[in-house]
Symmetry: C2
Subunit: 299 residues, 2 copies
């Protein structure tokens, strides 16, 4: 099998599904995740261990964690907002966690009910219980722009990154354009700055939203600075309950299409992933994005 040039990390089952009001049955979720794995996606953010009241769609986290362990070739990550939820996720059988912290105080508080320094302490605690055998993943939300505070400075981002990389645990850090208001020039600028400041201490991911149509351009700009890992969401599902106006993530199928047109291997079978995107776009209440699905359906 040809080695991959690009890793597309599917976040639809967590970042996408959580925005759909009507509960998707656990068996439907598991089937969709299985279809994504079959389409060649080898890393998936499958669920989140959070308050069932805050995010009822993800109340079946334990069942999802158990079921997706069975998928060969699928590395599953589970989002957690603090160390207590992290321990719960590990107890449920998760082997790789994704911790979330925002670069903006206001968004961090609305998202996880913590100050940034409180979240950094949670991260330290989580780091000490996370299995050494797998890299911990961290999402740095609102890294460019916050729905409440506006522009976020590079200094503010680097202050948080400095703390995150100071623990001995290996991390993978996703820099998130939560609002989708970032320009490709800003993506270039922040990744160039972070690479020069922190080099290879982190393994970087770009997580973009397509709310203002900049998603693919922002991914291209990140790729130009050397980023090779990208979050994306099947059918462009997404949004953030605590970021007003934020709509879908970059669509997995559009991103896979771009890299295919750039002759870069993502390991994804575009026809198969399009079938999953069509299935997902029929889920009642789903807000979809992306263009490739419709463009290729019309052919």
């Amino acid at each position: 099998m040809k080695s991959k040039d690009i890793e597309i990390i599917e976040v639809g089952p967590r970042d996408g599904f959580q925005s759909i009001p009507q509960f998707i049955s656990t068996s439907d979720k598991v089937r969709i995740i299985g279809n994504l794995v079959n389409a060649g996606i080898s890393r998936i953010e499958t669920t989140s261990v959070v308050s069932e009241r805050a995010v009822p769609q993800l109340a079946d986290a334990e069942a999802i964690i158990m079921a997706t362990k069975a998928f060969a070739g699928c590395s599953s990550q589970v989002l957690v907002p603090n160390a207590r939820r992290g321990q719960q996720a590990l107890d449920m059988g998760a082997t790789k966690l994704c911790f979330v912290i925002s670069a903006s105080e206001t968004h961090n508080f609305k998202n996880v009910r913590q100050s940034i320094s409180g979240s950094l302490a949670e991260y330290d605690a989580l780091s000490s219980i996370h299995p050494d055998s797998s890299t911990m993943r961290v999402n740095l939300a609102t890294a460019f722009d916050c729905p409440y505070e506006g522009s976020i400075s590079e200094k503010c981002v680097s202050g948080i990154v400095e703390h995150l990389v100071s623990t001995p645990h290996q991390i993978e850090l996703a820099i998130c354009d939560t609002t989708g208001r970032c320009s490709p020039l800003l993506v270039s600028s922040l990744f160039t700055f972070l690479s020069s400041e922190f080099g290879d201490i982190c393994s970087w991911v770009f997580h973009g939203h397509d709310t203002y149509g900049m998603g693919i351009a922002n991914c291209f700009a990140a790729w130009e600075t050397g980023i090779r890992k990208f979050d994306a969401s099947i059918a462009g599902l997404g949004g953030c309950p605590f970021a007003p106006g934020a709509t879908g993530n970059v669509a997995t199928e559009d991103l896979a299409w771009m890299f295919e047109k750039m002759f870069l291997n993502t390991g994804i079978d575009l026809d198969q992933v399009l079938q999953v995107a069509k299935e997902v776009s029929r889920i009642p209440g789903s807000q979809t994005g992306g263009r490739v699905r419709d463009a290729l359906s019309g052919q």
Copy 2:
């Protein structure tokens, strides 16, 4: 008034309207063009002088040409497929023409019923009658990819450009991704090649479609190679009757948004252009694109 960093050339009234089956009244067209001018757009492809049978939507070309002459601060260009239609357009009062030729033989024949060499002879004839006082504009369609022939080679493009720049008349050359199947890497590659081959002989424009969601990324890649003029279509209207599957051009409001976020001046008032985009999106039969319109409406 601050000088512009970027020129966005509005092609909706021609490239967009021609795909709408139901006739839009001349007075509605003129009002929309006027609103675009008021929003700060200073160059507009207002209509085309072509067979009324082939493109019934543009049968009112003469009235449009006459009416838009009255708009101060608006440079209007009129698309023509050959020298005879060019003469007709000049007789109707047009002062700036836009000639169209495809880099693919098959598309050129389907679009203008001519071989490429036949179209080049038409261009020579048009060049001799075009007013010296204004730059002639040429659209090089299917410059990257053809719906019938697939990939187009750089050699094929440069052969046509070589002929176009050999006449004494000053031209502005729009390199068109007619199918929208081009990647940002290919945009970079072709513009880098053309600039090294032809330097400043031409004034370059990038004309992109968003059929596969690559429109904004492709514009960003063109900007990185030094391109400062871009075609776009209000509300992402567009398509090509002779390019199956081609949907809208890059949306004017999304492109203006990107450059605004890059702190580059397009001269466009985003709020005003969004009002026009909303009006246009309500035209019966319009197929729209872009994300900024919906994103900002939701706020």
